[in-house]
């Protein structure tokens, strides 16, 4: 069975309508089906690893929008034993300290990405 690495760069693209991130959701669904998958968050997507996010409170007229719960989804990924990496350089550039990360997120240096790719058979670039 091939090893997959989902590299997620595009972030918060349609999270309000989908109530999740479509790439995280897709990868989780693969895992549920038995796939061997990992996730690498890079660029703005490293913000998915931040604890305490709250997108509630949006409404259009009388229609309330529940919104995404990225903390729930990332915690579910970790609980599912999907290795979850975040690029440390991208976190630092955005001023996100390690203390704000959801437990279980593994930081990797940008210089390590190539090696991470080499250790996977197939790459999903989002």
């Amino acid at each position: 069975m091939a090893k997959y690495l989902s590299i997620i760069d595009s972030s918060y693209r349609a999270t309000i309508e989908e109530q999740d991130d479509t790439a995280v959701w897709f990868t989780h669904a693969m895992k549920n089906g038995g796939a061997d998958v990992s996730i690498l968050l890079r660029g703005d997507a490293v913000n998915y690893a931040v604890s305490g996010q709250d997108a509630k409170g949006l409404r259009f007229g009388a229609r309330t929008v529940k919104g995404p719960d990225m903390v729930r989804d990332i915690q579910a990924v970790i609980a599912k034993k999907i290795p979850l990496y975040a690029v440390a350089d991208d976190l630092a550039e955005r001023g996100i300290p390690a203390s704000r990360l959801i437990p279980g997120v593994e930081q990797v240096q940008r210089s390590v990405i190539a090696r991470l790719i080499e250790t996977h058979d197939r790459i999903l670039s989002w």
Binding site: R13, I16, E17
Partner: protein
């Protein structure tokens, strides 16, 4: 009270531009302004009546628990909100864009027009904002 024309181009479920546009429309109505929305290309699917909510097995939520939002409900809600606030909200689709996509079955209150209508809305407005796709 002003009149604003907002052009939207992104299809539903693809871009943060969509909720941003809805938020701007909502804010304008809330402040008592009239709004013309012209949906171009993929945005014409925002009012498509065939949209259906779904349960979410990955979230472990039923149809009711997931409460999946369909943009057609947002359009309906904004049209009702405008009526409540006694302001005018026009939600107009590019007709050819609708035909291309086969999304003719639209919710009640959505009209059909052309770029000329968009221009006329703009001419009759105090301001114009086009949120183009990238």
């Amino acid at each position: 009270m002003a009149t604003i024309t907002i052009g939207i181009m992104d299809p539903p479920y693809e871009s943060a531009n969509t909720p941003t546009a809805f938020r701007l429309v909502e804010a304008a109505i809330r402040k008592g302004h009239n709004v013309n929305v012209f949906c171009y290309e993929g945005a014409t699917a925002l009012g498509y009546a065939g949209q259906k909510p779904h349960a979410n097995a990955v979230h472990g939520l039923s149809l009711e628990e997931e409460d999946h939002p369909n943009p057609k409900e947002w359009v309906k809600s904004l049209l009702a909100f405008a009526r409540d606030k006694s302001v005018k909200l026009v939600w107009c689709n590019c007709g050819m864009c609708v035909d291309e996509r086969g999304v003719e079955n639209q919710i009640e209150g959505v009209c059909r027009g052309s770029p000329v209508d968009a221009w006329k809305y703009s001419e009759a407005s105090d301001g114009l904002l086009l949120i183009g796709t990238e």
